[in-house]
Symmetry: C2
Subunit: 342 residues, 2 copies
């Protein structure tokens, strides 16, 4: 590989002059600049990023930690983040936390060892708060996605509570009183906020909470379709059901199929977050559409802002999503579905 020394020799100037030409850090006469530039072209010189980083302390890389790269939702986030930081001249270093707090801490440390200039993290359920201290100690700015945790940190996510309240309200307006929620792991802040939205909607409407209709799980990412089957097989089965995530929606759909219930004839169904290719699935799901692309975009923007001004006030950005009115809620479009507040 050719180095800056080779270029300097070719152009018959000193190493520092070549550096100044490349970075525009000092005035160089036109004539010298030309010589250097042609030398760079001819030798196809590209500066060694490691050497550059060692000296300057900046690597022009951004770390992104997600819990499962293969999940569709994260694919969208990765795509948007990559695009955002690439156009800003940065490069993406990706790590998978595998929905495990120990591994998350490890990969965060690895990214810090690689001296990323900043980090975007979608924390796991029982994330160790120490990771933020690690980043702070390394003076590495962090943006948290989706799952909100800690104060004094830039965050971007959706308004889970309001969105779920809208969905629940819709079923209530359609006359349902026994509404089940497949809530998932309420240890995850996202899912707990959604469960809160459900409870608040019931409360506002003066409806009682039937604890047997609230399906939560302590841990794990399963789709829980066995539990849902059990619930649906009982004599006092609910007249409506809400799934709190895309994965849980798939579990519910499996359960409906297995116990041979037809939606919306036998039970009304709405979901938080759509599922892929839902346009080909019958019935059309009434659901909240998670604005994943926007979240990725905003996260990249937020980090860029932070890198430009380390002392800016930390902010929390709530990206609005959209509600899709399908046929699965069984209201036949007669009951309006009100938008989530922005």
């Amino acid at each position: 590989m050719t180095t800056i020394v080779d270029v300097a020799r070719m152009a018959n100037v000193s190493v520092s002059t070549v550096s100044h030409v490349m970075n525009g850090t000092k005035k160089v006469s036109d004539e010298t600049r030309m010589r250097v530039e042609t030398a760079i072209k001819e030798s196809q010189f590209t500066p060694h990023q490691m050497a550059r980083s060692l000296r300057s302390g900046r690597t022009k890389t951004i770390g992104l930690v997600v819990s499962d790269t293969s999940q569709f939702i994260f694919g969208q986030v990765i795509s948007q983040v990559e695009q955002g930081i690439r156009t800003a001249g940065q490069t993406l270093v990706l790590a998978n936390s595998g929905e495990d707090a120990t591994q998350e801490k490890q990969v965060v440390q690895t990214l810090l060892d690689h001296r990323v200039d900043g980090m975007i993290i979608a924390p796991v359920a029982d994330s160790d708060p120490a990771i933020f201290e690690l980043c702070a100690a390394a003076d590495c700015p962090v943006v948290v996605i989706d799952r909100i945790s800690g104060r004094g940190i830039d965050r971007v996510g959706i308004d889970n509570e309001a969105a779920m309240r809208s969905l629940t309200r819709h079923l209530i307006d359609a006359g349902h009183k026994r509404i089940a929620l497949i809530a998932g792991d309420v240890g995850v802040s996202t899912l707990r906020e959604r469960a809160d939205g459900y409870l608040n909607a019931l409360d506002e409407a003066g409806l009682p909470v039937h604890t047997e209709l609230l399906v939560t799980t302590d841990r794990g990412l399963g789709d829980h379709h066995r539990e849902i089957e059990t619930l649906l097989s009982q004599p006092s089965r609910p007249t409506a059901m809400i799934a709190a995530s895309g994965l849980l929606t798939l579990g519910a759909l499996r359960a409906f199929r297995d116990v041979e219930l037809t939606v919306p004839r036998d039970i009304a169904f709405v979901s938080f977050d759509g599922v892929m290719n839902s346009e080909f699935i019958e019935p059309q799901l009434t659901c909240y559409l998670h604005p994943v692309e926007a979240i990725g975009r905003e996260a990249a923007k937020l980090l860029a802002r932070r890198l430009a001004d380390r002392n800016a006030m930390p902010v929390t950005i709530r990206v609005p999503g959209a509600l899709f009115h399908g046929t699965s809620c069984g209201c036949g479009g007669l009951v309006p579905l009100t938008m989530v507040a922005p």
Copy 2:
């Protein structure tokens, strides 16, 4: 941040001794080693990867270039590759080529500037062969995924021709003679191989090729459902159809819906590659299942092998996929679906 110098001072030894303790590059007495190790722990020292890389010439990073991170198939690949290299102590640097040759070349250069130890590339359709020269010049091993291009390079992919031949053969065995292929951009080697499989199957069966049933496009990633609609609206419409990719399958499904054809009653349909959540889509698609996870895994393994032995013979690994016999082909399970040769 604490550096190796701090540790050396704390342990009352020289810098080089600390280095030797960390890397096990020289024998150090137990007593000294202990002192150094406790000093490392107490100071929470982690070596500066940039400095380390500058000296050693290895960055412990692997570059991965895909054309669209948000596509499900690449999400799977990314996940497997990340896992593979993480367990090997490497870190993943991800770049998006956006299905554009110019951008692809740029990101490859960026990754080389960051001195990745190796690279895995899923090339774009009209990929510039120069990218391989760039890598060769930088002495950076490359593994090519899926789309095969060039010789003397490690490659991992599936046997597109054989898989497509099986699918086509299945429809022929079921009695079809007018079989359409939605082939997509045959400039992409993957898709051309699939088209070849279709043509070879027809040839083996002694059936003529109807060019109007072969829908190809010069460029782009669209799902082409308009073209498919046109084809289906003609009086002499085919009795069976094959879609050559997951995306094209979605286009076909849209077209069937829009022109109100029922599969398999009005037309038989099989697809190369399934679509997400297809278990909830009626009818069940008879299709070839792309072994994406295996491809990602193998790519990581292949690169590891190459890094261990730069002089090994370049190999091409063909990962076998599976065939799923659904109801969309309309044969009612009466006609056997023969496996792809491994």
